[in-house]
Symmetry: C2
Subunit: 218 residues, 2 copies
């Protein structure tokens, strides 16, 4: 499959590496064509790895992944171009993290809105699915890193798009029964709002390699 | 121990029942002395169960539990009286839930503040510990309802108060190693912000009897 990734940070590169290793063809998109991180990534990724602008990546992908920071995601996707996203599965991995100079985390948007919802409103013809934003990038692409069943959450308005997302996540190693559908795209609010909790757990556990699981009736 | 409970809803009554069953003496406090729920609870609770006003409950307790709705907690605790809370462990179980007429959940406060922080600011001489607000009342008082290890989160500025909370939770059946300390009272923000996620999980699982657990490195 051809996949466009919007954003060249750790999340974008980790997803790009995994997708290339699975045999997909990837364009890693950045704001400018000469982004050094994107060029270096494509250089080492082999023939199935390319770099380009946000618009190049969106045009290239049958599926597009948003791996930008949540506070700039809408701007990045505007640069990618609504017409290049129309009709496509757009998997949104972003969290709207705002760190103060003292390292305190707040979210923007929060509570009454979310990055996932903003993207779906701004690009009504894209088929947006929120996914993967509740864990570290290394866990996203290798759920077997952790022992036993743990969970991943999706939210979106388009059930076919959710099914396509589940299939792609299956290639990453996520059994479909580990994936919990939180409903329509407003569910993005619920998962984005877990980030302050995730950050405190990271400080508590001393590692980013953990994930949520649930216990039910005995 | 003598325990005052502020709030007569399901959470307050469930905690009150458990504490009486453990041999503690409880006053269930409501806004008015003649609250029917509180009177009925005390009637069936036996000699160790009493009812009264918020002020009666706070004066009675060596430990005070806030089980009011988070949007009215500060008002309820003002009625209880700062002088009756001073120096005491005040365990805050509240979540600031606001439901729209369409059933949509938002939080107030959120993101830059929390119920736990508001209470600690308003009553600086109380020793506030946020706890238990991430699960259903039935799970709070009977962690063995769920199979295997699952987790409870606390946050507070006073380490001795946290240790007293862990000891009381131990009486409920919570092993100390299942209790995760998220740091100072600003950690209340993190757990209160999990409520939209909890509500979606409840809809997904079709039961309120579930709780969080974590998976770590394989």
């Amino acid at each position: 499959m051809r996949i466009g990734i919007i954003g060249t940070g750790t999340v974008g590169q980790t997803l790009a590496d995994k997708l290339v290793s699975l045999g997909h063809e990837v364009t890693l998109g950045s704001r400018t064509k000469d982004n050094e991180r994107a060029l270096a990534w494509a250089e080492q990724a082999g023939p199935n790895g390319h770099s380009g602008t946000f618009a190049d990546a969106a045009a290239f992908g049958d599926v597009v992944l948003n791996a930008t920071g949540g506070t700039v995601s809408v701007a990045a996707l505007r640069a990618a171009g609504a017409e290049r996203l129309a009709g496509k599965l757009l998997i949104d991995v972003a969290n709207p993290l705002v760190f103060s100079s003292e390292g305190e985390l707040t979210l923007d948007p929060v509570n009454t809105d979310s990055v996932g919802e903003r993207i779906q409103r701004e690009f009504p013809e894209a088929r947006v699915v929120k996914a993967l934003n509740t864990m570290n990038a290394a866990v996203m692409v290798d759920p077997g890193k952790l022992s036993g069943e743990h969970n991943l959450f999706i939210a979106g308005n388009d059930e076919a798009a959710e099914a396509e997302t589940i299939a792609l996540l299956g290639e990453f190693g996520w059994p479909a029964e580990w994936i919990i559908d939180l409903g329509d795209i407003t569910g993005a609010r619920a998962t984005e709002m877990m980030m302050p909790f995730w950050l405190r757990l990271y400080r508590h556990f001393g590692t980013t390699e953990f994930n949520y699981a649930f216990k039910r009736n005995a």
